[in-house]
């Protein structure tokens, strides 16, 4: 009951934070890009035409009125029209979201599934060769830029070994997408009853997901290791050993649960980063996700699209940290009190 109320209170906090985010976005846009009219009109346009366009874009109104209109549009999920695609920004984002989510979820799961066990192993074999190995590899994973790792993987698995397809997006060139149901190709292909297409999607996903997984696993392994080392030196672990508990119980039940706290925080931050679209990664692999959309909108000064992306990315971080806080309440009883 008390826990329920705490969760509710934490969730209500999302609204003021989100309000702050969209307000900040609005005013920053006005400061850095005061009059986007110039983007829409040819240089030889008359002043009358400019005024007409300004009025159409709603830029002729005083700032407070613009702000209220902007909030009202947001409430109806109206993020304006992208002039590169000619579509509404909301539907553009919605169309590209599954590509980013699919890559992000697979990459993040890989990172967690590899990172946490590696961290535990390094802590358990502290100052011995498995520890040195994990620390060396993960240092590389953190120091090497993601795009470089991606390029190296492409050159190994596509160019040299020829066992994985090249970086041409979610499916090989010329292969039509299955009927969109969830937008996740790994699911839609199966729903369409086409295992061959599913396999093609898996192969296309392999390299970008590996790249993402490698760069995600590294910080997760390092944080897990240091948190595990700390937990294993604690009084309560000494108690568990003194009572006769075996090593596995001590490591995986009593130490890991405590060590997960900082790891969950880290994963929240990493998830926010990934799902906001790994811009360079998506560019390298021609992945039609949100990161590429953001990059294109910057290149083409597509103001509405960029603003929509910024709002999406910020709200995503707000949600990611909401999830982290909720998970904390389940893992750490001291926060509930």
């Amino acid at each position: 009951m008390q826990l329920g109320r705490m969760i509710l209170r934490r969730m209500l906090w999302v609204f003021p934070v989100a309000f702050g985010v969209v307000t900040l976005t609005f005013f920053m846009a006005r400061v850095f890009n005061g009059d986007p009219t110039e983007l829409y009109v040819p240089p030889e346009a008359t002043d009358a035409l400019r005024a007409q366009i300004r009025a159409r874009l709603g830029l002729a109104d005083p700032i407070p009125i613009q702000y209220i209109n902007y909030l009202w549009d947001l409430l109806r999920f109206d993020l304006g029209i992208s002039f590169t695609t000619g579509q509404s920004v909301a539907s553009d984002l919605w169309d590209r979201l599954p590509a980013t989510l699919e890559l992000g979820l697979v990459g993040l799961s890989l990172g967690i599934a590899v990172g946490i066990p590696l961290g535990v192993m390094a802590a358990v074999y502290r100052e011995r060769w498995p520890d040195f190995l994990v620390r060396g590899v993960t240092l590389g994973g953190m120091a090497l830029p993601q795009f470089w790792v991606g390029l190296v993987l492409i050159s190994i698995f596509f160019v040299s070994l020829r066992i994985l397809p090249g970086p041409v997006g979610r499916l090989p060139i010329g292969v039509p997408l299955p009927i969109k149901i969830t937008g996740f190709l790994l699911i839609d292909t199966l729903l369409a009853g086409d295992p061959a297409l599913w396999w093609q999607a898996v192969r296309q996903l392999a390299l970008p997901a590996l790249t993402l997984g490698f760069s995600t696993a590294s910080p997760i392994a390092r944080v897990t290791r240091s948190a595990m080392v700390e937990a294993m030196q604690s009084d309560y672990i000494r108690t568990a050993i003194a009572m006769g508990h075996g090593r596995r119980v001590v490591w995986f039940r009593y130490s890991l649960r405590n060590a997960l706290l900082p790891v969950v925080t880290l994963i929240g931050g990493v998830a926010g980063h990934i799902f906001a679209g790994a811009v360079l990664l998506e560019s390298i692999f021609a992945w039609p996700g949100l990161g590429q959309y953001a990059l294109q909108s910057i290149e083409r000064s597509d103001f509405a699209a960029l603003q929509g992306f910024v709002i999406y990315a910020s709200l995503l971080y707000v949600l990611a940290f909401l999830l982290v806080d909720l998970l904390y309440m389940f893992i750490d009883p001291r926060i509930r009190a």
Partner: protein
């Protein structure tokens, strides 16, 4: 009362210093714990009394190195045992109560769950049966409303209540022959201290436990213990019955320790 349950024999050890040198900290420590008796190991902080106790269970700090001597439990040298043999003794034969009970319990599991885990480990059986036993153990150490308390976490316990739960875990959920208590009342309120000591004495008598009480509180020792081992700077300086130590101490350090504690009591 005549048999010896545990014998520490010329036990010596050292710490690796940060400069990779061995710094001796225990020098030929020897004492005996008589079966069924309550033996106090007294000495100042840093005298090595806890280190010997941790060595008995094989949970000494990693930087500590054994350099000589034996620890005989029922005639078996504990030093030579491998991890598996040692584990089968922990909890089942030898168990330990630590100083700061709230830190010694795991913060992310309920107190009941931790006791039940130990019960399942030592005696087997299902989860719910183990939880029932855990609640019974909490009731036995006079924790009020044990059903509700079992569902709480260590941070919701006071220091005294946590120490009761710790004692329930080490002495009741485990069924050891030898119970080591490392400064069990340090840091608790004076009235709570005497309650906890009463509980320890009562449980030891009732269960016929051999008890080793590590403390620097000589007042407690005079009231409860049969035998006393005095340690100073990694050495045993004197051993004897409580009566002998308190009335006719031979060693100058023991005399100083006694005089100091009497001064404190006189002042109080």
């Amino acid at each position: 009362m005549s048999g010896v349950l545990l014998e520490v024999e010329s036990y010596s050890g050292a710490f690796w210093s940060p400069t990779n040198e061995l710094v001796p900290v225990l020098h030929q420590v020897s004492y005996r714990l008589k079966a069924g008796a309550m033996t106090a190991v007294v000495g100042e902080t840093g005298s090595g009394k806890s280190l010997v106790a941790l060595s008995i269970l094989g949970i000494q700090p990693p930087a500590f190195v054994h350099t000589g001597g034996r620890i005989l439990y029922r005639g078996t040298d504990l030093i030579g045992l491998d991890e598996k043999e040692m584990r089968s003794l922990r909890g089942a034969e030898i168990s330990m109560v630590f100083q700061d009970a709230r830190a010694a319990l795991n913060p992310v599991f309920t107190v009941g769950r931790q006791l039940a885990d130990v019960y399942q480990l030592q005696h087997g059986g299902g989860r719910s049966a183990a939880m029932k036993q855990a609640i019974e153990a909490l009731r036995r150490v006079s924790i009020p409303e044990p059903e509700r308390r079992a569902r709480q976490y260590p941070h919701e316990f006071s220091g005294g209540m946590a120490q009761r739960a710790m004692i329930a875990m080490a002495a009741l959920t485990c069924r050891p022959s030898l119970l080591i208590l490392d400064e069990p009342t340090t840091g608790l309120d004076v009235t709570i201290q005497s309650d906890i000591m009463e509980l320890i004495v009562e449980l030891s008598r009732q269960r016929g436990l051999t008890t080793c009480l590590i403390t620097h509180d000589l007042g407690v020792v005079a009231e409860t213990c049969d035998e006393v081992v005095v340690m100073n700077a990694g050495r045993v300086v004197e051993t004897g019955t409580t009566e002998a130590i308190f009335t006719a101490a031979v060693d100058p350090y023991t005399r100083r320790l006694l005089a100091a504690s009497q001064l404190v009591e006189a002042a109080a």
